[in-house]
Amino acid sequence: MKKIVMSVVVTIFLSLISVPSFGQSSNKVDLTELIMEGKRMIQNGVDQWKLDVLLNARAIFERILSVQEKDYLPHYYLAYADYRLCVMYMSQKDDKNAYKYIEEGIKHLERSVELKSNFAESQALLASLYGFKIGLKWYLGMTLGPKSGSCFDKAVEIDSLNPRVYLLLGISKYHTPSMFGGGMDKAKSNLLKSTKLYEYYSTSDSLLPSWGYDEAYTWMGKIYMEEKEYQKAEDQFEKALLINPECSWVKYVLKKELTEKMKEKR
């Protein structure tokens, strides 16, 4: 009898200690995991060029910020999702939605900078979004132009070896007419620097941004294509696909465009 009672008590005891420990670990969110999931989803959205994937990614960072507003990194990633959404809407000539996401992105990046002023990624992305805003409302160039330039300067000052800073600077110079300090030459020199820096840049923290390596080659290829250096353009696109075989912009748009231009040349 004693042994039976002893068995029952031990059984109950083991059940009880297992359930609460499960409850404690399973009811709390792992924000690190969520950030990683959101980060992956943004990349998928960019690679597949899908609006709903990007919106889902954005939603993840919104949820994180609802419980952890004072964290600079979710603000950065939410704004990065806005940056991608804005690019998508601008490609569809939907200025109204593009402007909406630019404003939201700027708001979150300004908050990210407020929370961590020495985070070069936020400074560089903020500079880019200011540039996008000028692109939609040209008269803001007088006030936002200097602000954008100042943010890029700060980003370089904080982290002069960050390839994404030069990638965004190169893209910005590409979209800025040479009369305003932009142009192909400046775009190329910044993008070249970016590709070199990507070879050596690494971070031990997997939460931090790591995008853009393929994009640096993609933009180089686009510039070479516009300059009619088609062989060089093809080389750059191949390098981009080696890094990221899923990049739909290169696979389905730019390579096709290059093939047509090469045919015309012949």
């Binding site: 068995s7 059940s15 399973s26 100042s150 009369m179 300090g181």
Partner: protein, 734 residues
């Protein structure tokens, strides 16, 4: 031993079973707006636990499964809508189905925009915005702040000068503030016909707030309007601008100092009309071409995260002389004026989260004219301390309070003819000379609160005291803002406004030092709608004036004058695409007063019933913009000379005047155009070139009449821009 092992195995299995027990709760539903239209891509998630959630699909539907049941908080968010949090009790035995209604985010009714008749340069303020580029690129405005504001509704175009005649009021009834300091003479070349341009270079302006009526208790000593200008006081990166045009040149520069803890800005402008007249073959009887110059200097220091001290100086002067032929006299009329303002300002946030601003300012103004043996000089100086505070205690609720102390000194001396129609060299003279000093003390408080989600009320009270007459005035001001839909706002403002008499009316010998403040009641109702980058505003208003200065044989002036102004203002502003934008304004006004030498209620010279303004801009390519500005208004009233008689005693013809303001000049028409091109002379330098043609239709608009010596013939005096005129210039930005 065997039994112990069996117990352990049973215990493990039971704990595993309890782990594997499926406690999934499901919640599903739809997200809609208030019209029950489904909202796709709304973010629906649990704000606790593991933040599980999903976006609604294109039909606005969602379904979320969660292993955490019981009390949960569900949050729903979507750009353009207000967030919603719902408390739920989830259970495995019951499927939760929800219909969630999201409200569109309301039009933000912040302090500026609850009040009717307001225009602001801040884009984030709801309502009609005038931005810096509007100032710089409005055709015909010569990149002048005041000329650009005249394109807004409610501004009566009494002259082509820069002075602001707001809803039937004279320029003196509009208060101009520059960073809390008073700028009592904000124009160059002030004359009977108005000052031509402002003394403020647009390059130093950061924000502009303008109100044509019903303005808040924060602003005192103004019967009709307020222009509140904030200047640039900071810079992140060194910059420099140089502008040269056919009528002068300007430069401004700014750079940070001491690791971005300090910033310096300075600017300078010089204008001269010589080349403008030569190129356009305009002949005026100027003996000395009108010239003006002004400059600013600003030094700012950020001593803490929120705290800043700045020192600002503005200085300017102007001069001109021309031959003026009066029926009784013909001589050179020379005028010059000087203007300087010093302002020390502190801005910080107090520990109780109150935004506080303190300004200590000093200004000096002098104006002199000489016409043969006749001359006049007046000098004014103002010392002012102003303190403004703003406490936000809710999303859009705030409490403002503040005070100001002014000391104004004025002096004038001059030699005038006793008979104002006889300027001949042997006419009887009178010498006038006086100086006086008056102190003002004012204080205000106002509160803006939500009465409900869509209803805002702003209530303020203001008290002012004047030392000479020892009079105290109390103003109550109210504004109501109603958001009738996400796009439509109705604003109602009403209240009382006092303004102290002008220095010339307080003169001890020729004025009345005991003269009290004039008073006006304002009532304004307006409707504003914003949609798809377009904005429309219609407002109707009525102003009743009391205690206006009126000539009095015993005491020179009494407070027995009165009058009214009423009308409708309309503005429609649109960005039709990224390349086409513009606005159209229309104003209707009727105004009469009995003041100064009026013996009864008369139409004033500000009674210009219909006023239409059309501005359009088109962007061509990436570097060209073309704009037009068309103005039409009905003729301004004037008092005709209906006859004359010969005064054998004074040996001069004298006019016989008809009824006051009984006739009108012909309608006013003017079309201006402007071409702007942006280009670069160096990769890091961008430049702007502009070409303006003023009065393209070459319509000779009249601003006055002059008469022969016996008043039998009259000649038109044409307006400043009565001939087609070309202006061009180039600006360079480093």
């Amino acid at each position: 031993m065997k039994r112990i092992i069996i117990c352990l195995i049973l215990g493990f299995i039971s704990s595993t079973l309890s782990f594997a027990q499926d406690e999934t709760c499901v919640i599903k539903g739809v997200v809609c707006d208030q019209k029950k239209e489904r909202i796709p891509y709304a973010n629906v998630f649990f704000k606790d636990g593991k933040l599980e959630g999903q976006l609604t699909n294109e039909k606005g539907e969602f379904e979320i499964k969660t292993a955490i049941c019981g009390k949960r908080k569900l949050m729903v968010s979507r750009l353009g809508y207000e967030n919603k949090i719902i408390d739920l009790q989830l259970s495995t035995s019951q499927l939760s189905t929800l219909e969630i209604i999201l409200k569109e985010e309301p039009v933000e009714l912040k302090g500026v925009t609850v009040t009717a008749s307001s225009f602001s340069s801040k884009e984030e303020d709801a309502g009609i915005a005038i931005n810096k580029m509007d100032v710089v690129t409005t055709p015909g405005a010569a990149a002048d702040v005041f000329q650009s504001i005249k394109a807004l509704p409610g501004l009566t175009p009494v002259s082509e000068g820069a002075e602001l005649f707001v809803r039937g009021g004279n320029p003196y009834e509009t208060s101009t503030l520059l960073d809390q300091a008073s700028l009592n003479h904000p124009y160059h070349n002030e004359s009977h016909y108005g000052g031509l341009f402002g003394v403020i270079d647009p390059s130093v302006i950061k924000d502009i707030y303008f109100s044509s009526g019903g303005f808040s208790a924060k602003y005192g000593n103004a019967l009709s309007g307020v222009l509140d200008i904030k200047t640039e006081d900071w810079v992140e990166k060194s910059q420099m601008d140089v502008n040269v045009n056919i009528a002068g040149f300007a430069f401004n520069s700014a750079f940070p100092l001491y690791n971005h803890k300090m910033a310096v800005r300075f600017s300078g402008r010089k204008s001269t009309s010589d080349l403008l007249f030569q190129v356009n073959r305009i002949r005026y009887d100027f003996l000395s071409i009108p010239t003006s110059q002004d400059g600013t200097f600003n030094l700012s220091w950020k001593y803490s995260t929120n705290g800043k001290i700045r020192f600002f100086v503005l200085g300017g002067d102007d001069q001109q002389s021309l031959k003026v032929d009066l029926p009784s006299y013909s001589q050179e009329l020379g005028t010059n004026s000087k203007n300087v303002l010093y302002n020390l300002q502190l801005i910080d946030i107090l520990p109780s989260h109150i935004l506080t601003k303190i300004s200590l300012s000093s200004s000096r103004y002098s104006q002199a004219w000489r016409y043969g043996i006749w001359e006049y000089e007046n000098k004014e100086s103002t010392e002012k301390l102003r303190w403004d505070n703003e406490l936000s205690y809710g999303k859009e609720d705030f409490l403002n309070f503040g005070m100001e102390i002014n000391r104004e000194s004025f002096s004038f001396k001059g030699i005038f003819p006793e008979d104002s129609t006889d300027f001949s060299s042997d006419a009887k003279q009178k010498v006038i000379e006086d100086k006086n000093e008056v102190n003002y003390l004012g204080g205000y408080t106002e509160n803006q609160i939500h009465l409900s989600e869509k209803l805002f009320l702003k209530a303020g009270i203001r008290g002012d005291y004047q030392s000479l007459s020892r009079s105290f005035s109390l103003d109550e001001r109210y504004s109501l803002g109603v958001s009738v839909s996400p796009r439509d706002v109705i604003r109602i403002s009403w209240g009382t406004f006092h303004q102290h008499p002008r220095s010339q009316h307080l003169d001890r010998e020729y004025g009345n030092p005991k003269l009290k403040a004039s008073k006006a009641y304002h009532a304004v109702i307006g409707w504003e709608r914003e949609w798809d980058r377009k904005a429309l505003r219609i407002e109707t208003y009525y102003k009743k004036y009391e205690k206006l200065p009126l000539d009095d044989t015993l005491i020179n002036y009494s407070n027995q004058g009165y009058g009214y102004a009423g009308g409708v203002d309309f503005i429609f502003k649109a960005n039709l695409s990224s390349k086409i934008s513009g606005w159209v304004t229309y104003s209707f006004i009727q105004t009469k007063r009995k003041e100064l030498d009026f013996t009864q209620l008369f139409t004033t010279r500000y009674d210009i019933p219909h006023n239409l303004n059309l501005v359009g801009k088109v962007k061509l390519g990436i570097s060209y913009e073309v704009g037009i500005n068309y103005r039409f208004c009905t003729g301004q009233p004037f008092t005709p000379v209906v006859g004359s008689y010969y005064d054998s005693t004074q040996v001069v013809w004298k006019p016989v005047y008809g009824d006051i303001n009984a006739e009108r000049f012909p309608h006013y028409n003017r079309l201006d155009a402007r071409l702007t091109k942006i280009f670069s002379i160096h990769p890091d330098v961008f430049s702007l070139f502009y070409l303006e043609i003023l009065n393209i239709l070459d319509i000779p608009n009249i601003m006055d009449y002059s008469y022969s010596s016996d008043y039998s013939k009259r000649e038109k005096v044409l307006s400043y821009f009565s001939k087609r005129c070309m202006v061009f210039g180039v600006g360079v930005n480093f």
